[in-house]
Amino acid sequence: MTFFFEVLINGLLMGIMYSLVALGFALIYKASDVFNMAQGAMSLLAGLALVGFLEMSFPLWLALLCTVGIMIILAYSTVFFVLKPLVNRPPLMLFMATFGIMYLLEGIGQSIWGTDAKGLNIGIPEISFEIRGILMNTFDLTFAGVAALLVASLVWFFQKTRTGRALRAVSDDHEAALSVGIPLLKAWAVTWVIAGIVATVAGVAWGSRLGVQFSLGYIAFKALPVLIIGGIDSIPGAIIAGLIVGAGETLAEVFIGPYVGGGIQTFFPYLIALLVLYFKPYGLFGKEIIERV
């Protein structure tokens, strides 16, 4: 039983990583109806920038601040140079544009900071310890804490603040939002900034585990089943589905894997996603399309 919990907790910790990536997608999709292919590349860029600043021997807080600064510049440039000219165009065009952003970010990141995989150490100690026989370590717990804090502040921001409410309005009806005086471009820029911050946290989390490398840009694809399960525009959905996928795939790999020759981890999330789609086409928490008849 202890072993089961150990695997479960490991899976959940993995799940937090997925949640973070999915969260970035969900935020942007909610606000501007764009499936942002560049979300993974944003994490890569944040990771690269952070490593870069740390190599320039910036203190950690300053390096983080500068990284977030870069994400803010990125958010505003995306909104004003890419989204603004494409307002009111078919969604497919915006989707394609985010592909462009993805390649651009990867290119820029690598031409500045090179293509080598880099270790990222932000100085969180990794001390293992046991609680009731379950093995844990301080690094994972710290990240779980940071992620929880991030999510709690997002929920508070969207539910309780004037800007958060305005962003929710924008996600429901762009033109009506404009008619009450909410500037759309500003609302989108704020959303992209938030998504940039989330991407930074995800980039740091993944980068510290796996090193900052090109493949970080593709963690995005790990988020795909998470989004399907949680509902593409739901913040709680992204979090919970991330945890489900993380726990599910790890448990499946450990307990079912040996009977079928392993490798379940790669497709198991899609299996859950299919199952969810079958019963709940908008995902577990997706915004229902309210149809009045």
Partner: protein, 269 residues
């Protein structure tokens, strides 16, 4: 001397998508505290006129290409829609655009977006809206996607009131509502006009109702104002009676004229 109009639309032309000419020179005035109505059949250009004033046309890839719009003596046709809201020009869009996943109260509060952090003023405004629409207060925590059509229209108007309007551009508030509700909505509009001193420009297909409550009317056809006058005068105008109020004086017009008009009307729609 006559007072200057609060809103002055001066011979505007609106083009959608750079090629579709929809308004072909529309002029109208709304005076402070007045209720003016804009009548016309489907596709006459009523909504486009309102959106040209509030500058929401831009969001639909439309543009005011000629003429001017003045509000309170200042030219506003080049302003950004939120700037107009801030000045007190509020459009209540056709078809009850509430934010369906927001609660009634949150939806109303978005109406005060341009008022920033004026907490006290916003709270007062909210109470005032609940005073006019007690039903909204009862349903304050329901999502607007699940309230009735009449409540949605109330919510849309109430949300407009949250912005400290000086003029409201109401686009077919009666659309799809039962006659009793229409009457209720119109009576609230008159109260807002009197008690809050909000000027109203009311686009309506329901001409009988609109002329009942408005002081002045403009009749649009095919992107132009073809007739205007006091509500009383318009009500007694033979063409308005026949084509918009549905009161035909049999015998005075030949059947062919009517048929001819209907044919024309279909072309316009």
């Amino acid at each position: 001397m006559e007072p200057a109009p609060l809103l002055k639309v001066n011979n505007i032309e609106v083009i959608y998508e750079h090629v579709i000419l929809v308004l072909k020179g529309v002029s109208l005035d709304v005076y402070e505290g007045q209720i003016a109505s804009l009548l016309g059949a489907n596709g006459a250009g009523k909504s486009t006129t309102l959106k040209a004033i509030s500058n929401l046309v831009k969001a639909e890839r439309g543009e005011v290409t000629k003429g001017t719009v003045e509000f309170d003596g200042k030219r506003v046709d080049r302003l950004f829609a939120p700037a107009l809201v801030k000045m007190g020009v509020i459009q209540i869009m056709e078809g009850r655009h509430t934010f369906e996943h927001l609660t009634v109260e949150d939806d109303l509060l978005t109406g005060a977006y341009t008022r920033g952090r004026d907490k006290k003023g916003i709270k007062e405004a909210l109470d005032r809206v609940y005073g006019y629409f007690p039903r909204l207060k009862e349903r304050r925590s329901a999502k607007t996607g699940y309230i009735s059509g009449g409540e949605m229209q109330m919510c849309a108007i109430g949300r407009g009131l949250m912005a400290k309007p000086r003029i409201m551009l109401l686009d077919e508030p009666s659309m799809g509502l039962a006659p009793l509700l229409v009457k209720e909505i119109f009576e609230i509009i008159v109260r807002l006009n009197k008690e809050e001193n909000v000027g109203m420009l009311l686009a309506e297909q329901n001409a009988a109702m609109a002329l009942e409550y408005a002081e002045y009317g403009y009749v649009m056809e095919n992107g132009r104002v073809v007739l205007d006058g006091d509500a009383e005068t318009l009500k007694n105008n033979a063409d308005v009676k026949e084509f918009y109020l549905g009161l035909t004086e049999i015998g005075k017009k030949s059947y062919r004229d009517v048929k001819h008009y209907h044919r024309r009307k279909r072309w316009l729609a």
